[in-house]
């Protein structure tokens, strides 16, 4: 097992190098000089542009910039944003917020998605099942910004159950509404995934065997059906966690969450190479770790996978 984990971690190195290189290249290839844009509609003196370009190494060829950046990372220096703030500090400030948001969202997806999916699957064709299918279809087809604006207007402005935007320090209670919004689409997916999987498992021989042995339904459902139905759902959750980290941009913007999505968006707009690449690097790392965790979780859920290794 340890060897497997080490192997997986070593694999992460080329993945990280490749992604950072690609991202750096893409930011670099963005047309226009970000320094010129700092001045709005005003045209700064050429000497000032020159000095600023030098400060951020923008006067160097792309490959030199990339290796300067990479070298910095090995020294623990992620560079500075145009605002003069060390990127490492921005990372430390924003990632916890988005992680919190993503964890709450995954929690909602998991608990409610699996519960609704399980009930739907067990009562296939019933009223609950039919309504769950209709609701999930609606949720899947709505763009996230529509859901976000409607929720903000209804629960934040009209009913005032939640704050319309996230307040200072991004406290958990303020993150619940955006997390629910983030969770909606994946929630619908998980309902459908769990439902299909439960229906499939319910028809399997081992479930019938268990029933014929005289086991109660209360024992068969959690131990035999649910556990075996969770494998595709867990895979989905792992991928989804990565998507949430990145895809929170829209939701973070609408609810003014001081997290990764918001900051990354601003950095891309400003063409701040080091900031963008550092953020993406950390995202890739998280993605890799979560996927590793999930692969380990498989072994726990399904003995066949464990013994195959």
């Amino acid at each position: 097992m340890t060897g497997y984990i080490v192997r997986r971690l070593l694999q992460a190195i080329p993945v990280l190098l490749g992604t950072t290189f690609l991202i750096y290249f893409m930011v670099f290839a963005m047309p226009g000089d970000p320094i010129v844009a700092l001045f709005g509609d005003k045209t700064p003196p050429p000497q000032v542009i020159e000095a600023l370009r030098e400060k951020y190494h923008l006067d160097q060829p792309f490959i030199v910039q990339y290796f300067l950046f990479l070298g910095g990372i090995f020294r623990g220096d992620f560079g500075t944003s145009f605002s003069g703030e060390p990127v490492s500090e921005i990372l430390v400030r924003t990632f916890p917020v988005t992680l919190q948001l993503a964890v709450i969202a995954v929690f909602f997806e998991m608990v409610f998605g699996i519960a609704v999916g399980l009930i739907s699957g067990l009562r296939k064709g019933g009223i609950f099942d039919a309504s769950a299918l209709v609701v999930s279809l609606i949720l899947i087809s709505l763009p996230i910004f529509v859901i976000a604006f409607v929720c903000q207007w209804l629960f934040g402005i009209q009913l005032q159950w939640f704050r319309a935007t996230v307040g200072a320090g991004a406290p958990i209670q303020d993150l619940i509404l955006p997390a629910i919004v983030l969770a909606t689409i994946s929630f619908a997916q998980i309902v459908r995934l769990t439902r299909a999987s439960v229906i499939d498992t319910d028809g399997q021989d081992f479930v019938r065997t268990a029933a014929s042995k005289g086991l109660s339904r209360g024992r068969i459902v959690p131990v035999h059906i649910l556990r075996n139905s969770l494998i595709p759902v867990v895979t989905y959750l792992a991928v989804d966690f990565g998507v949430l980290m990145v895809g929170a941009t829209v939701t973070e913007g609408i609810f003014n969450v001081p997290g990764v999505g918001n900051t990354l968006y601003q950095a891309i707009i400003r063409g701040e190479g080091p900031t963008v690449v550092s953020f993406v690097t950390v995202m890739v790392l998280i993605y890799l770790v979560v996927n590793l965790l999930v692969d380990l979780l498989y072994a726990v859920l399904d003995p066949r996978i464990r013994y195959a290794k």
């Binding site: 047309p31 921005i90 992680l99 964890v103 704050r163 307040g167 200072a168 900051t263 968006y265």
Partner: protein, 539 residues
């Protein structure tokens, strides 16, 4: 055994959750509700730079600097300058100024505000050895300034005594005193120069407000300001403090205003422009700001120089129905232009001879276009370049459609994906079409709208316009020590601009804002920022 494995799975999941949550504990929850008492909450944006006055050129940081610093002068709601730290600013020739300060003023750390506080701060901002400063160009006109070599102490700045210093400019510039309320000219305490980066994160000022303790600037979230008890200037706050909350999107800020989480908002999102005045009634503001919008036609484009160019420019201007565009596209949140400056500037006039060229007249437009065709026949498409990330597509399409219909020519917009790309092409002079242009004044003076844009070789003269008569009038205006006489010259320069039309004036941006039921006495200044110190909040 089986139960145990499920248990392990649960633990693994919980561990994954805990791992991520553990990383989150650094951001401790704080009080969330709108700040209590008489603290005004308002919108802002994360400053793009450490809060060093000479290195801040955007509104997010400027708004904070204006609250925590007091300059020699400040601007009232109409944009007129009044003395703040200055006792008097005197000149005989518009080139040599003697500035006297009020006595006994201090920064919030106890250091005195004296002549050196200003001279050292300006020298710092002007010296290229301190790295590029975004507002460095403000010191260009002081004697001795150079971009090419480091000048640690400008010879044009002389400290006479504790409360007096003199400024010598390279040439007469009568609007120099008008500039002195801009953040680039704020004083700095001596301690600032020990570590300017650290200072920028926890700035110490001398203004009506001060930072609410160390770390009051919570990056990307907010900055909390409290009243500076030592400030005795004309901007004494009528509230208990100011919380500027940074919003990444105007929609989020607007939602907070609707939910009464926010007291004052000075930017209404596009999605609410059509409805916000109905919703907020007399708590809404929609008035012209010091922002001039236009499109610039470089003289180097074929058919746009000489007599032919003049005729075509006038025809284009006459073919645009500005009232219709501002009403239909902007819901009345722009004011059709009537000159090259802005109505909020002292000396503005809406009846400069030649300004008729801004009135919609399709017949005359066609006539002039035909006259130009007689000189050299038109071919090709007339295009207006714009950055697609700035919400310009709507009006560009409307304007080019009007040109198409009223002049019978092919016209269209030329979008560039990003602002950076469009600006780079414009700066490098590689753009081959007309392009969207605009100007937001740094300080309330007519010259600020004209000199940097239309003077020969001026910094932001992106269309490379050059007319010796305009140059002469601008220089004469600057040499006048009497503001009214100076403005007369600047209006005369505009008369020529109306004939040459280096840029086609379109409209002035309005300031669109609103405030909650909890505050009163909200007034917006000449620079579209509310006069925060005047706002009162009920308990």
């Amino acid at each position: 055994m089986k139960i145990k494995r499920i248990g392990v799975a649960a633990i693994a999941l919980a561990a994954a959750g805990a791992l991520t949550l553990a990383g989150c504990s650094s951001s401790a929850p704080e009080s969330t509700g709108a700040a209590g008492g008489g603290i005004i909450t308002t919108n802002g944006s994360e400053p793009q730079n450490p809060l060093v006055p000479t290195n801040t050129n955007e509104t997010g940081g400027g708004k904070i600097l204006d609250a925590i610093f007091a300059g020699l002068v400040y601007y009232d709601a109409e944009g007129a300058p009044h003395n703040d730290v200055a006792e008097s600013i005197e000149t005989e020739d518009a080139q040599n100024y003697t500035i006297k300060l009020r006595e006994g003023l201090t920064f919030t750390n106890g250091e005195p505000v004296n002549a050196n506080s200003f001279v050292d701060a300006w020298n710092y901002g002007a010296d290229t050895a301190n790295g590029p400063q975004l507002s460095q160009y403000f010191f260009e006109s002081i004697k001795g300034f150079s971009y090419d070599e480091s000048v640690p102490e400008l010879p044009g700045l002389v400290v006479v005594d504790d409360t007096t210093f003199t400024v010598e400019l390279n040439q007469p510039e009568s609007d120099f005193p008008l500039r002195l309320g801009y953040s680039a000219f704020y004083p700095l305490p001596a301690s600032a120069f020990d570590d300017i980066e650290a200072f920028g994160n926890n700035p110490v000022g001398n203004g009506p407000y001060m930072l609410d303790g160390d770390g009051a600037w919570k990056h990307n979230e907010r900055i909390d300001l409290t009243v500076n008890p030592d400030y005795d200037g004309p901007r004494a706050p009528k509230n208990d403090g100011l919380s500027i909350i940074f919003y990444a999107s105007q929609d989020a800020a607007y939602a907070d205003l609707q939910a009464d989480n926010l007291d004052v908002l000075d930017a209404i999102p596009d999605s609410a422009l059509a409805t916000y005045e109905d919703e907020f009634g007399d708590r809404a503001v929609n008035q012209p700001a010091a922002i001039f919008q236009s499109f610039t036609i470089p003289g180097r484009l074929p058919h746009f120089d000489g007599e032919e160019g003049k005729l075509r420019r006038q025809a284009l201007s006459l073919a645009i129905d500005r009232d219709e565009v501002t009403e239909v596209i902007f819901n009345g949140t722009r004011t059709p232009a009537s000159d090259f400056t802005s109505p909020v500037i002292d000396g503005f006039s809406d009846s400069i001879p030649g300004s008729e060229v801004l009135d919609f007249d399709a017949t005359k437009a066609k006539e002039l276009w035909a006259q130009a065709d007689a000189i050299s026949p038109w071919d090709g498409t007339f295009q207006i370049a714009y950055n697609a990330d700035g919400g310009h597509a709507g009006w560009v399409d409307a304007v080019t459609n009007q040109l198409k219909n009223n002049l019978g020519i092919d016209a269209s917009g030329a979008p560039y994906p990003t602002f950076a790309e469009a600006r780079t092409l414009i700066t490098n002079r590689t753009i081959q079409t007309a392009f969207r242009s605009g100007w937001q004044a740094d300080y309330p003076a007519l010259f600020n709208f004209l000199g940097p844009l239309y003077g020969t070789g001026a910094g932001s003269n992106d269309g490379d316009y050059s007319n010796p008569e305009v140059d002469a009038l601008l220089t004469q205006g600057l040499a006048e020590t009497d503001l009214a006489a100076a403005n007369e010259k600047f209006q005369a320069a505009q008369e020529i601009l109306f004939q040459d039309l280096p840029a086609i004036p379109l409209w002035y941006s309005n300031v669109n804002g609103a405030w909650s039921t909890q505050v009163e006495n909200v007034q917006f200044g000449w620079n579209s920022v509310p006069l925060y110190y005047e706002i009162t909040k009920g308990e």
